[in-house]
C-alpha cells in the first residue's frame, strides 16, 4: 500500500469517494487520495461550497480535461478553511495528493465515529484499496 495509501490517516469511501482525513488541532484535514488523483487525471477545476456540510452530501466538484465528479463531505460539520492554493491550482493534488489538503472541517461531535464509510484500521483499508485496484485492472 505504502505511498499509494499511507496509513497515518483514514479514508472516506461513500459513493466511490477517495478522500483522506487527518485530525489536526481539533479539526479534520481532508484531501483526495492518490488513487483518485490518478483516476481523474490532471485536475483543472475544483469548487467548494463553504459553510455547513452534511456527511455524505456534496460539498463541491472536481474536474479534469476528461472527467468530472462530486466531492462529498466525509462528515457533518462546518468547513473552517479552504486551501486556496489548491483551489487555484488543483494540479497540486496530482503532484502531491497527501500534502495537498483541500478543506478542514470542524466535525459535529461524534460525526466521524458514526460514519460507516470511514474505514477503521489498517486491515480494512488494505482490503478496500486492493478491491479498488482490482476494479480498474
Amino acid at each position: 500500500m505504502g505511498n499509494l495509501i499511507p496509513t497515518d490517516r483514514r479514508y472516506y469511501t461513500k459513493n466511490g469517494a477517495h478522500l483522506w482525513l487527518k485530525e489536526e488541532n481539533g479539526t479534520l484535514k481532508v484531501g483526495m487520495d492518490a488513487f483518485m488523483a490518478e483516476h481523474a487525471g490532471f485536475l483543472t477545476f475544483l469548487t467548494i461550497r463553504e459553510g455547513e456540510v452534511s456527511g455524505g452530501e456534496p460539498m463541491g466538484n472536481f474536474e479534469s480535461a476528461k472527467f468530472v465528479s462530486r466531492l462529498y463531505a466525509p462528515v457533518s460539520g462546518r468547513i473552517v478553511s479552504v486551501n486556496r492554493e489548491v483551489l487555484n491550482n488543483p494540479r497540486k493534488i496530482n503532484e502531491d495528493p497527501y500534502g495537498s489538503w483541500i478543506v478542514t472541517i470542524e466535525a459535529e461531535p461524534g460525526a466521524e465515529a458514526f460514519s460507516e464509510h470511514i474505514l477503521k484500521g489498517e486491515e480494512e483499508t488494505r482490503k478496500w484499496i486492493k478491491d479498488e485496484l482490482e476494479k480498474v485492472e
Binding site: E38, A40, G41, F45, A65, K66, V68
Partner: protein, 353 residues
C-alpha cells in the same frame, strides 16, 4: 528552437496521452478513445494565423493548449510501442499536418511508421495549402492512409477568408481547399475524405447545412466540431454556439451523409434556422447516432475518431457523444433540438446559479 521535432517526435492529444499512459486519467462515463490524434511538431510552430485556432502563430496565450486541452510532445517510437501495448480499444491513428514546410514529408514518415509498426487504420488530417497536386494525395495513400480529413472549418467563403485567409494575413484559400476535397474523393474513393466544419464561427444554420451538402455531393462525409474559445486567440471572448443550433446541424449532417435527406428539401425560418427536415426524424432522434461524434471509421464501419469530451468540459452537457446516447440523454437532446431562442442555455445558467 525546440529539439523535439517531427518526425522523431509528435504532439498527441490529452485523450491519446491518457490512453497510452503518458498522462494519468480516465474518461467520464467510462468511455474509451478509439482513435489517436497526433500532430507534427516544430519549435517555430504553425505558420498560419487562423483566428480561432490554438496553434495560430499570432496566439498570445500563456497556455499551450489546442482544442481545449494539453498536447504533450512525445517520441514517435515510444508512441508506437505504447499503441501496441495499451491500445486495445484503438482502431485508427490520425496524423495531422500544420502549416509548415516540413509537415507533409514528416506526416508521410509518421504514417509509414504506424503502417509498418501497428495494425491501426491511418488517416491524415491534411493542410491543403501545402498540397499542390493530386500526386500528394497518391503519396498519402501509398504511405498507408485510407482516409483524409480536410479542415475547411468555416462554412462560407467570406468566413473562411475572414478567419483563415486575407482577414488574418493567413495563407489559406477557400477554393483550393475544396479542390483538394475533390482530388481526395477521386483518389481515395467516395466517403473517404472527411470535411471538418466548426459550428459557431458566425454562419447561419442554412449556410452550414448547405456546405455539408456541398461536401457530400463532392463525395466527402462531414465531421462536425463546436467552436470553443481558445484562451489567447483572437476569438477568446466568443461564445460557443447554442445547443439548439448545434443539434439541428448535427441532425441535418446525419440525414445528408446517410442519404436520408437533402439540403434543398429542408426548410428554414427567417433567421435561417432549420425548422423542418422534411423527413420523419422521430426514429432518427430516438436512435441517437446522429448526435454522436462524426469522424473517420474503424474496420467495422463504426466511427473510430470519437474524441470524448473534445468540445466541452466534462461538466457541461455533451455536444458530440462518444457513445450512443442513453434515454436520459435523448430527452435532453430533444429539449435542445427544438429550442430556437436560447432558453436551454438560460436554464443551464440558472441551474449553475
Amino acid at each position: 528552437m525546440s529539439e523535439k521535432e517531427s518526425p522523431e517526435y509528435v504532439q498527441i492529444s490529452t485523450a491519446a496521452a491518457m490512453t497510452l499512459k503518458f498522462f494519468p486519467g480516465q474518461f467520464n462515463r467510462g468511455e474509451k478513445l478509439r482513435a489517436l490524434n497526433l500532430l507534427v511538431t516544430y519549435g517555430e510552430g504553425c505558420r498560419a494565423s487562423c483566428g480561432y485556432c490554438g496553434l495560430s502563430r499570432t496566439r498570445g496565450a500563456v497556455e499551450d493548449t489546442f482544442i481545449r486541452v494539453d498536447w504533450p510532445i512525445v517520441p514517435l517510437d515510444e508512441t508506437i510501442r505504447r499503441a501496441n501495448e495499451h491500445g486495445e480499444h484503438v482502431k485508427r491513428v490520425c496524423v495531422s499536418m500544420i502549416t509548415h514546410p516540413k509537415a507533409f514529408d514528416d506526416m508521410l514518415t509518421i504514417m509509414r511508421a504506424f503502417r509498418d509498426g501497428t495494425d491501426l487504420l491511418i488517416s491524415g488530417l491534411i493542410g491543403p495549402t501545402l498540397i499542390r497536386s493530386e500526386e500528394k494525395v497518391e503519396m498519402m495513400k501509398e504511405a498507408g492512409a485510407d482516409m483524409v480529413g480536410i479542415a475547411v472549418d468555416a462554412a462560407t467563403p467570406e468566413l473562411f477568408d475572414k478567419f483563415r485567409g486575407g482577414g488574418v494575413g493567413g495563407p489559406h484559400k477557400w477554393e483550393h481547399y475544396w479542390r483538394v476535397v475533390d482530388w481526395s474523393a477521386r483518389i481515395l474513393g467516395r466517403k473517404k475524405p472527411g470535411v471538418h466544419l466548426i459550428v459557431g464561427l458566425g454562419e447561419t444554420e442554412r449556410e452550414m447545412v448547405s456546405t455539408i451538402q456541398r461536401a457530400d455531393d463532392l463525395g466527402a462525409i462531414t465531421h462536425l466540431f463546436s467552436f470553443f474559445p481558445e484562451a489567447g486567440s483572437s476569438m477568446e471572448r466568443w461564445s460557443q454556439p447554442s445547443y439548439g443550433q448545434y443539434r439541428r446541424v448535427q441532425l441535418a449532417r446525419y440525414l445528408i451523409n446517410e442519404e436520408l435527406g437533402r439540403y434543398e428539401d429542408m426548410e428554414f425560418n427567417e433567421k435561417d434556422q432549420l425548422v423542418d427536415f422534411r423527413v420523419d426524424v422521430e426514429e432518427v432522434i430516438d436512435d441517437g447516432e446522429a448526435f454522436m461524434t462524426s469522424g473517420c471509421a474503424g474496420h467495422e464501419g463504426r466511427v473510430a475518431c470519437n474524441r470524448p469530451y473534445g468540445n466541452e468540459r466534462p461538466s457541461r452537457p455533451i455536444r458530440n457523444y462518444a457513445f450512443l446516447p442513453e434515454p436520459s440523454d435523448i430527452e435532453m437532446i430533444r429539449e435542445q433540438l427544438f429550442d430556437y431562442s436560447g432558453r436551454y442555455e438560460e436554464k443551464l445558467n440558472e441551474d449553475e446559479g
